[in-house]
Symmetry: C2
Subunit: 317 residues, 2 copies
């Protein structure tokens, strides 16, 4: 698109909506956010999205005419051809026609895609995977999501909802509930595992770090425990990094990827310690050895990946 | 390509070379084969390929001018941009410039790709995956290979050698040597496992079927044992089908595939018994449930997949 006007990028989550005015290089020129309040229903969420766009345009002293397109990354499964959000548990949506609803109220092209997908696109165009080839992003948060850019295009697959790396089985011989990547390696899974271990008398600095409230084991507490040299946390997170490395290696062996970008809360908190260990496991498990040239990278857009990626994707489409 | 002339398709293996004259619909109009004799060196293999092409053209009463292009599927890792066979243990080749060698001797366009890739392309254009969307083929033989057709194109990836589903880890918690799909589920792995079990006093009909020579456990013997209701063979092959189903489910979860085509000796011997069990495991492991619509199919081109696929790919390129 030769259009030099900026685009609007929105990251629509179950708790918050982030919105930014994004230029052609992925720079955020103005931004704002608001609560999603998904419990008020889909139409109310659409209203809040439109108000948020107005607020951002006001901040930038622009009107909707000054914007080339609007891109939304939604926390759910999206049919990109229709812009319908097929399933989004956190938004309480089933088959919600988000693009149509937005288009009715806004005289501007709108695209809707999955939030992890648009984040992957952001990293590909303007972040960690810039100037790289085929890439996978792995977003490690309360769950584990993935996004693929193959042959220079965001890849959606036959059923439109590709990228479910979190639901791949990496431990077929383990018990049910311990077989998939997400069951083993999401931040939720890691926190649950640490809590169980501590409750069965494994000593850990996490008790003090969380003031004894083990429900408070979050990414930041985990990072602090590792900084303090806590052996239990280090052991669990080393296994977790290995599992992520195995899943990344599986994808690279199948797809001959040039890089894998890690994002999400756990990545942001543990940074190099984490990325290095994932790369180490990746190198052990990937085949053939040529694929060791595939780089494990840390997100460069961090929490902005959704907004930037949605803005850039709207421009691209 | 509007060119109505047929193409030459070649399947270059470590033991045999198959060659066919292939029409636009993937029908083989004439064919012949010869031994590879890889031990005589690369140039000698190229000479034998050229003689074989001559033989097939003679049979069809055609000349090279009557052929639109030549496609070769080689048993090794191929850089499709250069037509160089990067590594091919069974052909004893390293960085062998096959396309250049053939072009010097033949006044005709030549393309070279991996044998499993061209087989996948054959199934996609003229076989089991015809009129389907994104697809993976899994070839279960002495090893396990894979080929991907994504967005209507044979997918090669950043390092040109995508499709290594056999080397994906599906059992991270198992011991070394029991973690990847190929280590668990190739015909070689299955035969070794059955032999070890029988040698440690597990009764099996395979003893009689192989006249007591357990080195003769091949796909056909396995099929016969299952036909006879041999519980040991059934138990091992059910686990094997489960592992293939898990690997297929992993690929489908990541890539939202419309179908997975099974080929190779084990598939050809066990047929519906095998495909049904792979589909059953696939349905248990794939996520989300929408992906259960992804079909596990049996190769329709069988041993001709390489020749037909190479011929059709040469036409397409």
């Amino acid at each position: 698109m030769a259009d030099k006007r900026p685009t609007i990028g929105m990251d629509l989550g179950g708790t918050n909506i982030q919105c930014g005015l994004v230029d052609a290089k992925g720079k955020i020129l103005a931004r704002d956010d608001t609560k999603t309040k998904a419990d008020r229903g889909g139409d109310a969420v659409v209203e809040r999205m439109i108000e948020l766009i107005d607020d951002v345009l006001d901040k930038a002293k622009l009107k909707l005419d000054d914007v080339a397109a609007i891109g939304v990354g939604a926390a759910g499964a999206v049919d990109v051809n229709t812009g319908i959000v097929v399933v989004a548990p956190n938004l309480r949506w089933n088959n919600f026609p988000l693009r149509e609803k937005l288009r009715k109220k806004l005289d501007c092209p709108v695209i809707v895609d999955n939030d992890v997908n648009v984040g992957a696109w952001g990293e590909y165009v303007a972040g960690a995977a810039k100037d790289q080839g085929d890439m996978l992003s792995i977003f490690v948060g309360t769950g584990i999501g993935g996004g693929l850019v193959l042959d220079g295009r965001l890849y959606h697959g036959h059923f439109q909802i590709a990228g479910e790396i979190g639901h791949t089985t990496i431990a077929a011989d383990a018990g049910l509930g311990r077989r998939t990547l997400e069951q083993r390696s999401s931040r939720t899974a890691v926190a649950n595992r640490l809590r169980r271990l501590i409750q069965t008398n494994h000593p850990s600095a996490l008790v003090e770090i969380t003031d004894g409230d083990l429900d408070k084991i979050r990414s930041r507490a985990i990072a602090e425990a590792i900084d303090q040299g806590d052996l239990l946390t280090i052991a669990v997170l080393e296994e977790t990094a290995r599992d992520i490395g195995i899943a990344a290696a599986n994808a690279a062996s199948l797809l001959a990827l040039s890089c894998v970008v890690l994002g999400g809360g756990l990545t942001e908190a543990l940074r190099d310690w984490w990325v290095d260990r994932v790369q180490e496991a990746f190198n052990k498990y990937v085949f053939p050895h040529e694929f060791r040239a595939c780089k494990i990278l840390m997100s460069e857009l961090h929490d902005d990946a959704g907004v930037v990626g949605a803005g850039l994707l709207a421009r691209h489409e």
